[in-house]
């Protein structure tokens, strides 16, 4: 095949990540999957499940303690970009590929040959993997300054194509920075997507289309005023490819653009500042946008007829809030959204948040009267009879955004519960609940009798935003009407 050169990968070995059978974290960043399989990347590692159906019991597997970037799924394989440095705040960008075969649980760990930054004069060339897709039985990885790298499943070899170039060869044995093209915004691959026949690659200043059959590159007409193209999603609508692009104009806030490949026209919807975009069925477009102190979900209806994007009747996060309040008390921050088909061609709509995963399988996300979302969060099973209780978290601190703590306890039988807070001298601070009925813990609730919307303390003297108590160690007492008692500690460092 002209323009293709096979090279050996620098490193190809077994993965080093330790496995787990628990949900690793409630702070979930990214989602991807297909069928009954859903992959999640969180602050503590990667989780996946093959039982994401209507069943309330979801069995999670995972790999702990490594820093990952959005997963890509296809052909029974999952590709996750990782870095060796687990500390998120110290790590740079992903420089490793981790490929997992769900069927036989085999793993491969791939280091790209050009994964290290190269310094050329005043510039630093980055060759890390920025985005990936599964297309035509292969992974396609957009590498910043490294072109479009493709590999089939867990194959031992890969191929590189470079935007706008012909026959650019990289070989690990002859690796030389001089072989790389000079840094240019029009070849700096950021994101990748595909339609029925083409692969779309956004570089900072261009949107490329790559035909994998003849390995040719073409560019589309630029959108007016755009200075940087960022994320891209593509889908077919009535035999026409439509691309949704997050881009910024004049180096300012991001905007959502839409490109019709049939008419070669751009349209712009600039009401909000998008962070990510996700395509659902029936021409819906979901977007996570940056609001003042948070991020929110916005829903658009895409119509091909007039080449526009229209706001749907339920145009903001209210539609979601009505469906999550049954399972979570406080507001959440949506980090990612995902649609996937699962058995019987139903759709799963999932939201990755900082307080766990919400998902729905029986209705569209925008239906205000829809059934409540199912909620998956990390919950350590508790023993019955108040043997072990927790305040989660044990330290209330503004900086950690933990301005309330929740009491986790497990009653051996249905009972009435009182929870009180005392200071170091055992002087009473506040009564959280006073002889309220609670159910015995069950496996369905991870052994919790807790009702999160009631069994919490916000560190104030009235548990309702009043005077914040002085910094120090406080004690909680959980007491049942039948005589059981448990004590625990909470540290308050709020201001």
């Amino acid at each position: 095949m002209p323009g293709l050169f096979i090279f050996c990968l620098v490193c190809f070995g077994t993965a080093q990540y330790s496995t787990t059978n628990e949900l690793l974290s409630n702070d979930i960043y990214w989602l991807d999957g297909s069928g009954d399989t859903l992959w999640m990347v969180s602050s503590k590692g990667v989780n996946y499940t093959t039982s994401i159906t209507d069943s309330p019991t979801v069995i999670w597997s995972g790999f702990r303690d490594f820093q990952a970037w959005p997963p890509t799924y296809g052909g029974g394989f999952t590709l996750i970009r990782t870095t060796e440095d687990y500390n998120f705040y110290k790590s740079g960008v992903p420089d490793k590929l981790w490929i997992f075969n769900i069927a036989d649980k085999s793993q491969r760990f791939v280091a790209l040959p050009f994964s290290n930054p190269v310094h050329t004069g005043n510039d630093t060339l980055l060759f890390q993997a920025a985005d990936a897709i599964w297309f035509k039985d292969a992974f396609w990885i957009a590498c910043m300054n490294g072109g479009l790298f493709t590999m089939q499943g867990q194959a031992q070899t890969g191929v590189i194509f470079y935007p706008g170039r012909d026959k650019v060869v990289y070989n690990s044995n002859t690796f030389n920075e001089a072989n790389f093209p000079t840094f240019h915004d029009s070849t700096y691959a950021i994101s990748v997507a595909h339609d029925d026949s083409l692969i779309w690659v956004t570089c900072l200043q261009k949107v490329w289309q790559f035909n994998p059959d003849d390995t040719t590159w073409t560019t589309i007409a630029p959108a007016t005023g755009v200075t940087e193209y960022l994320d891209i999603e593509v889908r077919m609508q009535a035999d026409t490819a439509v691309a949704f692009v997050i881009a910024s104009k004049n180096d300012k806030d991001t905007t959502l653009f839409r490109y019709n490949n049939g008419t070669n026209q751009w349209s712009e919807f600039s009401a909000l500042k998008p962070l990510t975009v996700e395509l659902s069925d029936e021409n819906h477009v979901y977007m996570i946008y940056e609001s003042q102190n948070n991020s929110n979900i916005h829903l658009y209806l895409d119509t091909l007829a007039n080449s526009s994007i229209q706001t749907t009747p339920y145009r903001d996060e209210r539609a979601f809030n009505t469906r999550v309040t049954d399972v979570i008390f406080s507001s959440f921050i949506p980090n990612d959204i995902h649609f996937a088909t699962y058995n019987q061609n139903k759709k799963i709509f999932a939201i990755a948040t900082d307080q766990g995963l919400f998902y729905s399988t029986n209705a569209h996300a925008d239906e205000e009267a829809g059934t409540p979302f199912k909620h998956q969060s990390r919950r350590v099973p508790l023993d019955k009879g108040l043997e072990k209780t927790y305040a989660i978290p044990g330290i209330i601190n503004n900086y950690l955004r933990e301005i309330r703590t929740e009491f986790a306890y497990n009653l051996s039988e249905d009972d009435h519960v009182s929870i009180d807070i005392y200071d170091y001298n055992m002087d009473h601070v506040v009564c959280i609940v006073d002889e309220v009925p609670r159910k015995a813990g069950s496996s369905r609730t991870s052994g919790r009798s807790t009702i999160p919307s009631e069994d919490f303390w916000d560190g104030t003297v009235n548990n309702n935003g009043g005077r914040i108590v002085a910094p120090g160690v406080y004690f909680y007492r959980i007491k049942t009407k039948k005589g059981s008692r448990a004590f625990g500690k909470i540290i308050v460092a709020r201001n």
């Binding site: 500390n87 350590v380 120090g472």
Partner: protein, 354 residues
Amino acid sequence: MERSLLRGTKKTVIYVIIMMTLITVVSTSAVGIGGYGGAYLREPVGATAFALGGAQSASPQYLCAWWNPAALMTVKKKSLALGTGYRPLGRTEGYLSFEFPLPPRAAIGVSTLYRGIPLIKGLVDEQEYPLEDCAYATYAFRMGLSYLIKRNFTAGLNCSFYVQELPTGYESGNVIYSSATAIGFDLGLRYVVTKKYALGFVMKNLLSTFNWEFTGDFSPLFQDTLPATVTLGHEFKGSFMERPLIWTCDIVGYLFNAKFRSLPHGHVVINNGVEWQKWELFYVRAGVRDVEFNRDLFKNSRRYKNHLTMAITLGCTIDLSKALKGKDMRFNYGISTDKVGAGLDQQLDFVTTF
């Protein structure tokens, strides 16, 4: 003539105490003192005071700088006290005091107190991952000066330096600590009405504010101004079964903070204790501490009963002075309920004068 005058003074004092108590109780809030800063300073210091229910402001036997600096004038010899304590839920403490007279009109006392939880286990982060074991520590250093104004009237002043170290954050399971310091002052008066009756008046924690600086950038500064306390105490020396009996009582008001601003929820507690010197070598004590009085007593008696907390205290002293001629040595022990049913508080100390 003199006796009738004394009797009249005593009646007046008792009448004033009762009236002050009633007025304060009626005007104070149903919400308690819990949640204000300096909670670790409210527990009595010293096994004797501990066993007497924390009622020692009129005539403390030692650790005068803690109770009433004006009472330092009762120290006739150098006095050294060393003690320790343990409370449920991991709270421990240790204290040391040295007091000495400066004849003819002054006395000085210095003391230090550690209170804290040396091992806090079982904390988890928001993901329910365990945090490393950590500790909470407080240190208080206090120096008091007493001055004899008149034969039966003394005044005193304390200056205190406080330190707290608290786990305030975490990262990757490791706990991050913050610390804060404060300086505070106490003012004390002591009036000996008769040989059997003494009154004490103490204002504590004046100008005491901890300045916390927490980890992070979310307005990390926090000023924790302690509540000031106003204590009126008395000591009555009588007899029971022809053996000496001492009754002590403190009324402690939490009405304003260390910067003299009224507290949102004023509050009063009453402490009472008796000491019976049944034997020369062995004294017994009992008391009731932290009996909360507030307006619920009259307006919502059910709620008052439900939230009424108090500590029952017991204690004893083994006085070796008689056995060891020429050496004044006492071992004091105190034990108390903890108000919430978590266990028993205990203090043990050793006092000698030389």
